[in-house]
Symmetry: C2
Subunit: 449 residues, 2 copies
């Protein structure tokens, strides 16, 4: 125990109390250990018994010590030693080798300026207030009714199709739903994925141990011929805006794919990940919306339009598949916390989501103009852009090094297109330009220089 | 348009504004439609032009109408018709056939009185305030550092083993982690599950298309002999307290299982779902804590101790498996929203979690006494209980109907043990008593009657 300082302004009983408390907290005195009697401690420290009494009372009141009748005083706090030992064990750095979650693949990255964070937190607060302990109650397996109704309304307004709310299944991110979808459609199916394409997809199919085929794309995207040839059962495509090439699948090709899908046991997984961002004209209609066969599954996510830390994605199912989902997967608990679901439901149904999308579009229309200006300055560059999304491809063999250096400074990501091919080869001289994280100011500086 | 009421206290311009606005909102007037000129409307309604002017200004200010120079006024809100059409489409009831998430399987059900909801919401508010827009940023693939550190500290204090925080992987619920674990350990493994056991497990292994074997239990749980015999690679067990029989695996049996696990490519998945609830003596130590081979995976969840709507579970990995996880599964985005993670981290590190567990234990100690008293009243009933968890088994052939009727009234769930067997047979006259949702008052009434 530290010595008492009789010249200190702090009363002696308080010093004594603090000394004993610190010994307990640091583990020097451990659970069950007997404290000296009041008289013994008073003599030892050359202080009055009343001073010791006051210190002990405080320790008892705060739960560090208990008094046993006719026996004495005992430490009753066991955390001390444990905390100290633990602190010694865990002094290491948190390893940096673990990947941060990649943000905004192909779609826009969250920027403090874009997202109405104060609205979001206000809604969070009012959800807490209004829902109260109902927040602790479980929600339905497919998600909270409020959220599914809100998404249904949004799809009707923004994507032009009516989906009954109950057939909208929410999940903790698109990757989670990809896994679920394999369990829904079956492991005996052959899945067809776009080549080039989103790099996480083949990993997920492989981890699930299901057969998948890389389907090469032509200028219109995936072709039905290739699906027949490779004996695919479920085609995983992004017809509104392919990642990373930016191809918009023309209507003729969509019809072809739909005719293919009419065959027994075939499905189309329509990944509509950035359809919100269309720079001119009307949004490209969904295949799901015009599907009469019930073979299309529609998927989208809020992780990209709101924030990557908000893990909410959803899929729209036909009546038949919804029945199958209930039967096979309805036992799963919903993977999205109730609180997030209610907050997002209000964010959508009170109109904030669509206003947020509109503001974001306004900003990125400006950014896109600047990026196109910048890229077209490099000698020999040929841009392929389809008026949509936050990425496009450019051919730039000679001027590539300068372009990459400049773009990196501006927060524009340049990746060789070959990286998105299954064999990491081909497409020489072609690059994917992703301007989701672009900084306008810097582009303007380079353009003005 | 509704007629104006000249005797109303509401100014005429305001009535006019509301009438037009409602027509736009309901879709009676649609996007692009021209409004009457101010003069024409004034004449038609027998009001002054200034009144019309005031109404139009308000509509323009709120964005419902735009003024085109030298041309007139036009509706510029397109939502109206869409909202009306949507409302007509979606008038249906939300189907009731979808299962609500089952709450508190085998562990305690959330009760408003138990959980410190006001503390939780206070922490939520302070996380919003302190983190600000950092809440929108992605967290590491395995979860936020703060939460993993908090869990590591908790495990050291409560479960007596030190796990480096980075090797604690969080996920959106245990079911999600079961799926992930299959991807981690491999699809070529044969999984061994307890029979009787937790009914969701075989469903998940089956949906994943991996081989699994039902391993019959004896009075000590799963035996190593059975694991050898059925050529199991990964044994999925709950040694601290088996669900639903309540068996606590003795140390001799644990050693046997650990010797089995030393064989090439073998693993033990230790499900510690309700180890917090031990009614006397020290908590049963974990197998993970004393494992030197790196073959044990430890799993636990907060969905049962906090609330089923909070979807956070975690698993502890050996160094080797953590390396494998980073390599194979590190590309997955963390499935738990950042906000929930930060809130839970504070709840644990500020000591609220352990206080909550202690309060819960205190209540259930009382409830358990009452339930044991109640059940032992039925003629011929033989109770098997191991001083742990919120369920036990009882043999009650003759008195079963009365016992079931009384218990149901008290919120105590009685299920035939046979339901938990793979073949739904056997164990005649044996019942699982689950008192997680028991109402003390009602039990006391029956006991007093």
């Amino acid at each position: 125990m530290r010595a008492l300082d009789k010249n200190s302004a702090k009363p002696l009983y308080e010093q004594l109390y603090e000394n004993i408390r610190d010994d307990i907290l640091s583990g020097k005195m451990s659970e069950g250990e007997k404290l000296p009697s009041k008289r013994a401690l008073a003599e030892q420290q050359q202080i009055s018994v009343v001073t010791v009494e006051n210190a002990y009372s405080q320790l008892i009141a705060e739960g560090y010590v208990r008094a046993a009748e006719r026996s004495g005083y005992y430490v009753q706090y066991s955390g001390g030693a444990v905390e100290t030992q633990y602190a010694e064990l865990t002094r290491g750095e948190f390893p940096n080798s673990e990947k941060e979650e990649p943000s905004g693949e192909g779609a826009f990255e969250p920027s403090a300026g874009d997202f109405p964070f104060s609205v979001w937190t206000r809604l969070m607060r009012s959800v807490i207030l209004e829902k109260g302990t109902a927040l602790l109650q479980p929600v339905r397996s497919g998600g909270a009714e409020e959220l599914r109704r809100a998404i249904s309304g949004y799809l009707y307004r923004a994507r032009g199709f009516y989906q009954p709310p109950e057939r909208i299944i929410t999940g903790a991110g698109t990757e989670y739903l990809y896994n679920l979808l394999i369990q829904l459609l079956g492991r005996d199916k052959v899945y067809g994925i776009e080549d080039p394409g989103y790099e996480k997809l083949p990993k997920i199919y492989e981890l699930n141990g299901v057969r998948f085929e890389y389907i090469p794309l032509d200028g219109s995207g995936m072709s039905a011929d290739a699906l027949y040839e490779k004996r695919v059962d479920a085609a995983h495509i992004s017809p509104a805006h392919h990642y990373p090439t930016g191809i918009v699948m023309p209507i003729s090709r969509r019809r072809e794919i739909m005719r293919w899908a009419e065959g027994c046991g075939r499905y189309v997984i329509e990944d509509d990940y950035d359809s919100e961002l269309r720079w001119s004209g009307k949004p490209v209609p969904t295949m799901f919306g015009s599907d009469a066969t019930g073979r299309v599954i529609y998927m989208n996510t809020f992780s990209q339009t709101i924030a990557p830390s908000v893990r909410i994605s959803y899929m729209c199912l036909s009546e038949e598949l919804y029945g199958l989902w209930r039967e096979k997967l309805g036992f799963y608990a919903c993977s999205v916390p109730a609180f997030e679901q209610y907050t997002l439901a209000r964010f959508i149904s009170e109109g904030y989501f669509e206003r947020h999308i509109n503001r974001t579009k306004k900003r990125f229309r400006r950014v896109r103009e600047l990026v196109l200006q910048l890229i077209s300055r490099y000698p020999g560059s040929v841009i392929s852009e389809e008026n949509a999304g936050l990425h496009f491809t450019v051919e730039a063999v000679e001027s590539a090094p300068q372009m990459i250096a400049d773009c990196t400074k501006c927060g524009i990501k340049i990746t060789p297109l070959s990286q998105y091919y299954s064999d990491k080869k081909g497409a020489e001289g072609l690059f994917v330009v992703n301007y989701g994280g672009a900084v306008e100011q810097r582009i303007s500086e380079i353009l003005g220089a």
